[in-house]
Amino acid sequence: MNINLKSKLGRISLNNPVLVAAGTFGFGEEYTALINLNKLGGIITKTVTLEPRKGNPPPRLTETPAGLLNAIGLENPGIDVFLKEKLPFLSQFEAALIVNIAGEKEEDYLTLAERLNEKERIDALEINISCPNVKEKGLIFGTDPGRTFLLVKKLREVTNIPLIIKLTPNVTDISEIAQAAQEAGAEALSLINTVLGMSIDVETRRPKLGNITGGLSGPAIRPIAVRMVRDTFQKVSLPIIGMGGITCSEDALEFILTGASAVAVGTANFIDPSTALRIVEGIKEYMQRKGIENFEDLIGWLENSV
């Protein structure tokens, strides 16, 4: 059988549906020593902001049951360094290149999008309106359908690059925000970003994170993420990149069968850098076993009756 793993997210073409998630793969440099980046479906960069950001005070990580709580605070070198030092490196791979951006206010997003507009090699921008770890207004866009709509609409006007909107799970109804993004002209949706959480060291009586609260990722949140993919898939027609706790091909297939057109591996990169590539193989093996030739036929392929 001739397995075809290609997937499309609107105008974005992927060689295979397995990406690496923002902030868990840096700008790719470090992982080249361990895996072949050409075999990834796509690379989503660490969030880039207009100015360099120092990030939050340490400790920035703590482990929770089946989860990782982080409060990095979007530390990154800023757009100038990104363009000069990171983009050329990232441009050499066959994987789709998706640049994740965030701003403190609307103009930041617009300026970033404009500056990235000309770069041919960039396949899409992922708009982070959902980072829980910054003190500024970042999160507000992502929890408000009206502001999401306006932001995406304006971005759509300043750039022609496909826009992927990254949604936060910390809302009452994620499909509302998804709908707003769709109406404003987004190409695709990424979900979910991390779930707000915190943890206390009861001996020192201090929060385990310097920032007090952080974002929960890893297997613990997978059921939450799958459910949000379902809510969104049912109400919105945009293609979805599913993420949240994916560690193996079964996990990835949970998202895909529920309606995701692609998946992204986050925390699991830290645990096993070969996770994404193992998932590509696992999906292939599953398709072979189930007699499915085209990956796109897997998307939303749930039995009707329960």
């Binding site: 840096g26 340490p58 830290f270 850098p273």
Partner: protein, 257 residues
């Protein structure tokens, strides 16, 4: 940098709660430098979820050793691994000690488990040039004294209860040494943060170059996640890839506790 399934050649208790594990890891053994570490996946599944970092304690041929203390679930589970088990190991990682060959008097200051990387360093240096200060709570908790004697290096000891050597904190002992001895070219220290802070501040005060090996909770271990940072003089520094060994003057000690 290698990610391998390393076979466990032995995993033995050395003193209560402390273990030594030997892994067959040719690539890592070949490249490892004192101060570097390996990032180990204790077990499959998600309990614990993340890898755990351990200093490389020795390299011999195609084998590496780590020395570890059981402090939580991960190390507890590690201590129950058997010879012949395989364990997913990533390394060698990070920046080790940087020592120019012309230094004549190097003091290695090891608090508790701090001996793990410093022993590797001692093995690589000219025995004549080094003095090791070992600190522990009490006599029974001094790690690795026998092996150090075999190495034929000068060792001095401080115990908090005075049951062996100097009675008091290692940093106090170090302070006495500094006052008596102005000929030190370099201090290399590893141990708990409060101790390192004092050693670093004393060295800086006495204008002696000092390198410290630091710890922080890690995610990726390779510089990607920005999760393991500590406060440096001008910006945050990644323990996993900017360190774990830092020049003492890179660190903003005031904010460490």
């Amino acid at each position: 940098m290698y990610q391998i399934k390393a076979k466990i050649l032995f995993n033995e208790k050395i003193i209560s709660g402390h273990y030594k594990m030997c892994l067959y890891a040719p690539g890592i053994a070949r490249e490892a430098k004192p101060g570097q570490f390996v990032h180990i996946r204790i077990k499959d599944g998600y309990d614990p979820l993340l890898r755990r970092p351990f200093s490389i304690h020795r390299c011999e041929g195609e084998k590496i050793e780590i020395l570890y203390k059981v402090v939580g679930r991960g190390t507890e589970f590690l201590s129950r691994k058997k010879t012949g088990n395989e364990i997913d190991t990533l390394g060698p990682l990070g920046q080790g000690f940087k020592i120019s060959p012309d230094l004549k008097k190097i003091v290695l200051v090891a608090g508790g488990m701090g001996i793990a990387p410093l022993y590797f360093l001692a093995e690589k240096l000219n025995r004549e040039n080094i003095l090791i200060l070992l600190g522990a709570e009490s006599k029974g908790k001094i790690l690795y004294l026998e092996n150090l004697k075999n190495l034929n290096v000068k060792v001095q000891i401080a115990t908090e209860d005075g049951s062996q050597g100097y009675k008091g904190l290692l940093s106090e002992f170090f302070f006495h040494l500094l006052k008596e001895n102005s000929q030190i070219d370099l201090v290399c220290a590893c141990g708990p943060i409060p101790m390192l802070k004092k050693i670093a501040q004393l060295s800086l005060k006495y204008k002696i170059p000092c390198q410290v090996s630091l710890e922080q909770r890690m995610g990726c271990g390779i510089g990607v996640c920005l999760g393991c940072t500590i406060k440096g003089k001008s910006s945050y520094l990644r323990v996993c890839s900017d360190g774990p060994v830092f020049q003492a003057n890179q660190i903003r000690w005031k904010e460490e506790r």
